[in-house]
């Protein structure tokens, strides 16, 4: 039962990803794309979790946490870029 559900869920997430990809490509603004990318990252995390169940292995559970971290870093970088154009400031107090 679980396997079937997982496969259904996988397809759902994949469909969601394609939809998000449409947003990434279409835009129309940059923030739109980044929002979609961020959501895409979240979907990937979900997918990894589902694949873990599907393969019945805990080998990839590290990936989940790691990807959570990285998606965050990526989003921060993008938003800083959008806002300031430079993502690492030399000295923000000056």
């Amino acid at each position: 039962m679980i396997q079937t559900v997982v496969y259904i869920a996988l397809i759902c997430v994949a469909v969601a990803m394609i939809t998000l990809l449409y947003r990434v490509i279409k835009g129309p603004t940059l923030p739109d794309r980044i929002v979609a990318l961020d959501a895409l990252g979240v979907n990937i995390v979900a997918m990894v979790a589902l694949v873990c169940i599907a393969l019945d292995t805990n080998a990839f559970l590290e990936v989940i946490l790691l990807f959570g971290i990285l998606a965050f870093i990526g989003t921060v970088a993008f938003s800083k870029y959008l806002e300031k154009g430079v993502i690492i400031e030399n000295d923000r107090n000056s």
Binding site: A59, F60, E62, V63, L65, L66, I69, L70, F72, I73, V76, A77, K80, E83, I87, I88, E89, N90, D91, R92, N93
Partner: protein
């Protein structure tokens, strides 16, 4: 206009600890579960990168006053040294040794020279990533 990144900074302070801990875990667990020097090192640099994003170069430099190029060289020396240790025993370069040592209080301690090698990898990866980011970020 200047904006304050208070939310980000606060969150970063919280999360940073988590990331570093996780990276250390991933580094040490590498021989048994997925991970290792590469990922560990990269993740550590990811943490520092986050720090850089949330704060700025100057602040980070005061917190972590490393010369990252030296760190690279040090890491390489570690890796080479692990390999060259084998030269002393006239075994082929990079031959690893491992064994369990019984330490009275801690119990069985699993020791592996591969960990030293991986430490070299870790140092190099952190050093490289950070020196790249720092050099580019510091370029006006």
């Amino acid at each position: 206009m200047k904006t304050s990144d208070l939310i980000l900074q606060t969150a970063t302070k919280l999360i940073l600890f988590l990331i570093v801990l996780f990276s250390v875990y991933i580094f040490f667990a590498g021989h048994y579960t997925p991970g290792g020097g590469f990922v560990g090192g990269l993740l550590t640099s990811g943490a520092i990168l986050l720090l850089l994003l949330a704060f700025d170069m100057k602040t980070v430099q005061t917190i972590l006053p490393f010369n990252y190029l030296y760190m690279v060289a040090l890491g390489l020396l570690f890796a080479i040294g692990t390999g060259a240790g084998a030269l002393l025993f006239n075994t082929p370069f990079l031959t690893h040794a491992f064994g369990d040592i019984h330490v009275p209080v801690l119990g069985e301690l699993h020791l592996h020279t591969a960990t030293l090698f991986d430490l070299g990898v870790y140092l190099v990866v952190v050093g490289v990533t950070m020196s790249i980011i720092q050099t580019i970020g510091g370029d006006e």
